[in-house]
């Protein structure tokens, strides 16, 4: 007995009986409309997802591409012996006593001379204001050169010096004549001089290699800030992660997948691993701070600590990937090896592991990529510190203070000058390029070597 028969109210309407099935009635129309609406909602959701991706990437690209170009001024600087080497002895220690302040007048003189030599109207600016168009980093550049080549004192040397951050921003559209009029750090007159110098070929904008090699710079000189120390620090951490997480992860997976008996202890390990995969990354930072720095006394901001923290964080990823790779090796391989008299250990190390290797490496690369982009735990172990010195070569360098790519990005976003936002976006492009390369590598590995059984 069905409900329909019992209450009788749902008997087919008489009108329906005489109509063709091909004629769509109201109810069907409503249901079809609902169907179309639902499908439309689905495609809108997909489009929103894709738009979010496109929006995210274009916003970063638009903001960051300009950081790969930098404005330089080419100046003939006379390295005045009266200023740099007063007694003419050529004694390096004496020359080193002259601080960057001693080099400023040289640049000022050179800049004023260059402006005059190119027939550029100085707009009635004082010499100091004209010299301000050059980055405050420039004296340090010249000083380093002089200390490296003391015999050049007394000669006139051509330098490519960084233009000031605002002048650079003018050619990247960040600074305009209107904003310059309101800005204490730059004036429209300076911009007009810059335009004239650009026409004269003294000032030009070119590819910014220093962005990849230079260390960080202080708040007032964004034009000099680079990623050198951060890239090196990240590379050191990846080295630590690779050296520690890969063997540990593979060993743990081999045990769990091939040897572990089914008991509470194995369960405990497995529950632990899946929990660790879900623990927020910042908690690993707290662990690193409490155990590695506070308890074990390792130095703050050191790549070794960052590497250890990231190792613990990537370990679950690598273990999960490795176990999947081991599982994918068919049992027939194991049985064949055991059948010809190999021991369990020989079976695993001589046959199963080599066959699972592409999968394991793919997992390891993905784990590394994850670790490379991780920021939060590194903030807690002091990687935000302002570091200008390059760390030494490993292994000692692992204990030197360094920065890391994502932390450097965060660090730049906290600074006042908008030029640093451009730098941060540029650094993100660098980070994303690294991640892209790693992921492509993982895909190639999988395509090339993965075997279908």
């Amino acid at each position: 007995m069905t409900d329909i028969a019992r209450n009788g109210s749902s008997a087919p309407a008489p009108a329906r009986r005489n109509r063709s099935l091909l004629e769509v009635d109201d109810r069907t129309r409503r249901r079809n409309a609902a169907e179309a609406r639902f499908k439309l909602m689905g495609s809108i959701a997909v489009i929103i997802g894709l738009l979010a991706l496109v929006g995210l990437l274009t916003s970063i690209l638009l903001n960051g591409m300009s950081s790969f170009r930098q404005t330089y001024v080419s100046l003939e600087v006379y390295l005045d012996p009266a200023k740099l080497d007063k007694d003419g002895s050529g004694n390096l220690e004496k020359i080193a006593k002259v601080t960057t302040f001693g080099y400023k007048p040289l640049i000022q003189k050179a800049m004023v001379a260059t402006v005059a030599a190119n027939g550029v109207d100085d707009q009635g600016l004082k010499a100091k204001k004209i010299a301000d168009m050059i980055s405050p980093e420039a004296p340090a550049t010249i000083r380093d050169y002089v200390l490296a080549n003391p015999d050049k004192i007394g000669e006139t040397v051509r330098f490519d010096l960084l233009a000031g951050g605002r002048i650079d921003g003018y050619y990247k559209g960040r600074v305009t004549m209107e904003t310059a009029a309101l800005d204490r750090n730059v004036s429209p007159e300076q911009l007009r001089i810059a335009d004239a110098l650009r026409d004269a070929g003294v000032l030009d904008t070119r590819f910014n290699w220093a962005f990849f090699t230079a260390p960080d710079a202080s708040d007032t000189r964004p034009e000099a800030a680079g990623l050198g120390v951060a890239i090196l620090g990240s590379a050191y951490m990846m080295l630590v992660v690779l050296v520690l997480a890969l063997p540990l992860g593979v060993a743990a997976s081999i045990y769990l997948e091939e040897f572990a008996p089914q008991n509470w202890f194995t369960d405990l390990i497995e529950v632990n691993i899946s929990n660790l995969a879900a623990v927020p990354s910042i908690v690993f930072g707290i662990l690193g701070l409490a155990v590695f720095i506070n308890y074990a006394g390792l130095p703050q901001s050191a790549p070794i600590v960052g590497g250890l923290v990231l190792t613990l964080m990537t370990l679950p990823t690598i273990i999960i990937a490795t176990r999947a790779a081991l599982k994918a090796v068919p049992p027939s391989i194991r049985e064949a090896a055991l059948g010809v008299g190999a021991s369990k250990m020989q079976t695993v190390f001589h046959h199963v592991l080599p066959l699972a290797m592409p999968g394991i490496l793919t997992g390891a690369i993905i784990g590394l990529a994850q670790a490379l982009g991780e920021t939060a735990p590194l903030l807690l172990i002091g990687m935000v510190a302002f570091v200008r010195e390059y760390p030494a070569a490993p292994p000692e360098g692992l204990f030197d203070p360094a920065s890391a790519l994502p932390v450097q990005i965060y660090n730049w976003t906290t600074r006042g000058d908008p030029a640093f936002v451009e730098r941060a976006s540029g650094a993100i492009i660098v980070l994303l390029v690294f991640l892209l390369i790693m992921n492509i590598l993982a895909i190639i590995l999988r395509r090339r070597f993965e075997r279908r059984w």
Partner: protein, 486 residues
Amino acid sequence: MNVGILSLIVLGLAALGYVLARRRALAVVQGDARLLHSRTGYYGQLVFLLTAVPAFLVMAIWLFLQPILIEQRVAENIPGTAIPEGGDLTLVMSDVRRIAGGIDAMMADGSLGEAQLKDMHADQTDIRARLAGVGIALGAEVSPAVFEAAKSYRKMQKTGALAMTVVVLGLALGMMGLALSRISATLRARNLAESFVLSLLIGASLVAIATTAGIVLSLLFETWHFFQLYPARDFFFSLTWNPQFRGGSDLGFAPLIWGTLYVSLVALIVAVPIGLMIAIYLAEYAGKRVRSLAKPAIEVLAGIPTIVYGLFALITVGPFIRDWIAQPTGLGDSSSSVLTAGLVMGIMLIPFVSSLSDDIINAVPQALRDGSYGLGATQSETIKQVILPAALPGVVGAILLAASRAIGETMIVVMGAGAAAKMSLNPLEAMTTVTVKIVSQLTGDTEFASPETLVAFALGLTLFVFTLGLNVLALYIVRKYREQYE
């Protein structure tokens, strides 16, 4: 001796042991390898492992224990009078360590010899000025007791390092000798080496347990420490968060929890409908080509580091919301707000929800769909009335996992949500979260003595408990309510 060099020496010894063991095994049977129980390589492997592993183990334990023991001994010898008014022992100990480091630096640049150090006393020499000369800046004059403590600290450290070198090398050599002397034709070298390797594998899988234990213990220990300095009642029930680094701060966690939950809620409101619809569309409607393009593209979102989302919130979404929504409506005027952070975090969670739900929807058997179509249902009716109910436990699990992600997310809220601890309903106002405050309390100078620093551990424990609870709940729901097909 340097730990690195010592490790290299031990490895060298182990390699030597490998070679010697192979030779000796062959010598025992006069070069006829058939008479040996195992192949010669296994004898080598066994000696290699026995030489290297115990030595490294002892080294690790030594490095772990030595600082604690030395600190204890030195701390015992510091008289109570050497501790300044209002200071405590940990501060004095950090001075001791820095002075010891300074003495080492002076030794290194040759301005101080061992003999001179013996006659050097804090009341005769200006230690502070000399330490400043090697780049160690001290806050106050060095008291004689502290300086003596630094001297003995340094001495004990030297003795400890020397003793470690001797013990480790002795152990390596001893084990190597012992293993070599045991080699005979009947020694079951392969079995021994293999069980040794097996124990190493077990050791590696214990790292996961050790990590969890490390997390839980360090959080519990420091939280306990915190509650000794700050009343637990205020932490849990006070409604204000106002840390003052001079003391007398209000450290109630309610505003932070509120901010965290609010941001996560906004994120889920964004991510769940979009992610679910994407999963449904890709699993049920999309053709092969659309699926093969759209699915990886959306999963790219999951591979993008959170710092990128943070910057997106900071420079694009934040100003946009401020200029187009907050200021016209007059509800707020800061670019960091709950809505900014929630929106961007929602985008981050979309692939998380969609790929998990996609798997679950695909796992619903085709027979259910066919049955529903056979009864005359349209595709959307089938999805809404058959597939989603069947997939519900899995979908709820996925949402809970996404929620636990949202609660633990740090960079997006640090850069997008703001730093003001507030309890407000207005999503256009800046609020702060647990993770933001962990970062702000722990970056910079970290002396583990003030409640303002230690509160971060209590917050970390809260976070850990929350996320763990959500994960366990998700797992439980999936296991308990999962429909078993076939």
